[in-house]
Chain length 551, copies 2
Amino acid sequence: MKIALGQINPTVGDFSRNAAKIIQFALQARSAGAGLILFPELAVSGYPPLDLVERPSFVVRSRATVERIAAETQGIAVICGLVTPAEADSGKKAMNSAALLREGRIDFIQSKMLLPTYDVFDEMRNFAPAKSQQLFSFGGKQMALTICEDAWNDKRFWNRRLYRVDPVEELVRAGGNFVLNISASPFWLGKRELRRDMLTAIAQNQKVPVAMVNQVGGNDSLVFDGSSLVIAPDGEVIAQAKSFEEDLIYFDSEKLDSQKISGDMHPQTVGEEASAYEALVLGTRDYVHKCGFERAIIGLSGGIDSALTASIAADALGSENVIGVGMPGPYSSRGSIDDARELASNLKIRFELLSINEIYEAARQTLAPVFAAMPQDVAEENIQSRARGLLLMAMSNKLGALVLSTGNKSELAVGYCTLYGDMVGGLAVISDVPKALVYRLSAYVNSRRKVIPEATIEKPPSAELGPDQKDSDSLPPYDVLDAILEDYVEESCSAEQIARSHNFDLDLVRRVIRMVERSEYKRQQAAPGIKISAKAFGYGRRFPIAAKSEA
Amino acid sequence: MKIALGQINPTVGDFSRNAAKIIQFALQARSAGAGLILFPELAVSGYPPLDLVERPSFVVRSRATVERIAAETQGIAVICGLVTPAEADSGKKAMNSAALLREGRIDFIQSKMLLPTYDVFDEMRNFAPAKSQQLFSFGGKQMALTICEDAWNDKRFWNRRLYRVDPVEELVRAGGNFVLNISASPFWLGKRELRRDMLTAIAQNQKVPVAMVNQVGGNDSLVFDGSSLVIAPDGEVIAQAKSFEEDLIYFDSEKLDSQKISGDMHPQTVGEEASAYEALVLGTRDYVHKCGFERAIIGLSGGIDSALTASIAADALGSENVIGVGMPGPYSSRGSIDDARELASNLKIRFELLSINEIYEAARQTLAPVFAAMPQDVAEENIQSRARGLLLMAMSNKLGALVLSTGNKSELAVGYCTLYGDMVGGLAVISDVPKALVYRLSAYVNSRRKVIPEATIEKPPSAELGPDQKDSDSLPPYDVLDAILEDYVEESCSAEQIARSHNFDLDLVRRVIRMVERSEYKRQQAAPGIKISAKAFGYGRRFPIAAKSEA
């Protein structure tokens, strides 16, 4: 039988648009002769709905939408994700479920067994787990229908498992001979390779084919990469969908070994830089559009962070929808403005030049009675940065365009950024990109077409908020900083471990850790950023503000 | 036997300070002849530690601290909360545990069975639950040692339970005849009464005494009210500790019926206004001090929100540590500045007057080439608000004082506030106080001592960002708005339910709901606020930004 995977990009809460998309894909698959089509986890509502599932109306609309989809897709069986009401004694309002729609009605429902509750996932907060699971028969197969995390606990694959049961193994033991997995599995670097290896291990270990359909698209901080897969029992990939785009692929459930590949093999994005860049482009495009905007505004400093951000924005929204703003101040170099202008010209985006000097001087004069004879310090630096924030937000309000902020992960980690200044914006595009990766992504951008000026790449990083200021005046070299941050933020290493393993000065490591901990208040007021690492700042990393530092 | 409850105010992560406090209280209780003292949940680390518990060093330090406490408190048994390592196959790194320290060593450990994972609680994220529970013998009693949520599932008390097991009932069934509960149970309006009623029901239903010690103090958004209690099997309170302060109380475990009260009965705060006000004062004081600040800065508009915030700050930090800043702009009324100045004078706080006109004019001139002939709109209003934000932050940077923002819950709900403008600050003191309660709390303040000017209370609310602007130009009357918001935010009602139950116009209700949903992006960049309601914005309410509105 011909089976389709409908790799769609839903919008959270937009039931009618999501349903229209599901119906359109299903009817196309029916026309192509498919007997079954799979859609992602919570396809009807979009993932993650967060606390929306606690609104009774959300559960009701989810069910009604699925019933409508069933009625409008007769002639092809449809599997799609939805929220369903939880049992009264579960303590929760909803379950994360998959429905089989057949002949105009809901024929079978299986809810999710394993509810991820770590990093960006809060499913134990919002859902009750399924108490049990069943198989269903389809096209002569005993189908094991699982939802995302249900497939992430194979004891032969993981050194350290998160759960004591393996829903896939249990269904196969009960006679399942075909594993279906509907997912909303977000991207981060290395995740697609891990996911593929893990699904391959399941197919080989359980000796069953595995078909996984993944959500695609950006929803707030998360980017779902799609990259849906079908894997034969011998571990060969026999069908795959594109990365970072909607896609509809087919495979034949009777031709499932690598000698007789019958499935679509669409190209997936290869390479760390290309994957990160495409994730950032998709995340930016979807955030801007799903928030109801067409256009974006970016402050261009002449530096590499804003250059990379502008390049991502131009690819995401089209050059005609991006406005770059150069905002020279008392300590800006001539070169910086030239570099910003050249970048804008290369990207073919509109460029505006607005000096902050008048606002800066007005603020200093206004504050003179209070500041009196106190020496110039970080207060004056931040006034410059906040004057820029004020100008960007005023343009945003007047022109109806979303501000994209340009800070990188290394800066955000140590608080080398100004709250309400360079941090203003609706989306912090590269806030999960460490400085070293900013350089690599910029090189990737220029390898396609030279848009980022050489001077932008080569000059030493500077905030240009004081005379001859360089980032290296306040921070260790970025390669040292990034190494400390990776060990501290992603690996939870102690200062002693980090100093020892890199042969770094322990006091330096402690100083960096204290900077990270003391900047928590800034990060809690930061715009959402696009997650591309295993541990991004934001929703998936929760630390107290008013706490004593460990270092 | 004389038993003590050590109601302490720990700082998250400050093991040495928390240990010093625990030791000091224990030695004082030992001197008073007590044989046992109880400290709150996670007393050693402070609650909530959030993802800090995933740092291996945090678990190690927790254990080492408890061992030191055991060594230094010989002669009195101590029960205190700490994190302990979770079993390897649990998928988590830590458990939320209670240790009995006796004769210099850890004698018994019981971990928490029920892990709250809703609203502000994320315990299933951070902890593995205990697999089983045991009693321990002490002073001739079979002690049932429980941790906070473990006592919140009595089937005769709750209409709808969150868990299928009741750890208290199971321990009593196993022979427990004295229930100990160590808590970190945060304050919200009505919570203390609920907690007391619930503990009373347990004592009566299980026919056992219940002694509950609660954490006190503010940690980020949460205020713990203390209000520790001992309840006799007949349901009478036989000992109680103060609300909103550290306290050390004693009771006699052999004199546990209401006819022979032997315990301390310290007065607890009575009344909704007094409770809310004291919670806000404590939350503000602890946030400012635990973040390492002494002083606070508040923009004073002459309106009631900033007046209430300044009064709270003066009570929290001392008048000498609060700076009020009047920042008149082009649309400020003369009366507003007079009212602000009078408030500052009444509160005996420093007052500075800084006009925003120069910054506003400089910004308008700078933007003129871009704004060209476009009509004046919200962009110009926000420039005024952001000029104020810039001035407050500059003073904060220069003077080393924390900015307290002054927006109320009603405004924050519908987005009637300017991101990076009036929303700037380290703590949003009254962001969980609806406008109607702002008036009631202001009346409460003035009932103690008349500090808020009559004109501030009586004039119609206005942001004064346009000519003759009133809040009522953009918003429904606050009593209507607050009614809609309460039903929508706290009760998850649909637009139709709200319109029907209040006889409100459905379109109006829908408009308000859309305003709430569309302001999510502002709230996600708001400063943390002090939670005083069952459902505050912030950490305990998680909604997507780029989502379709329901209304």
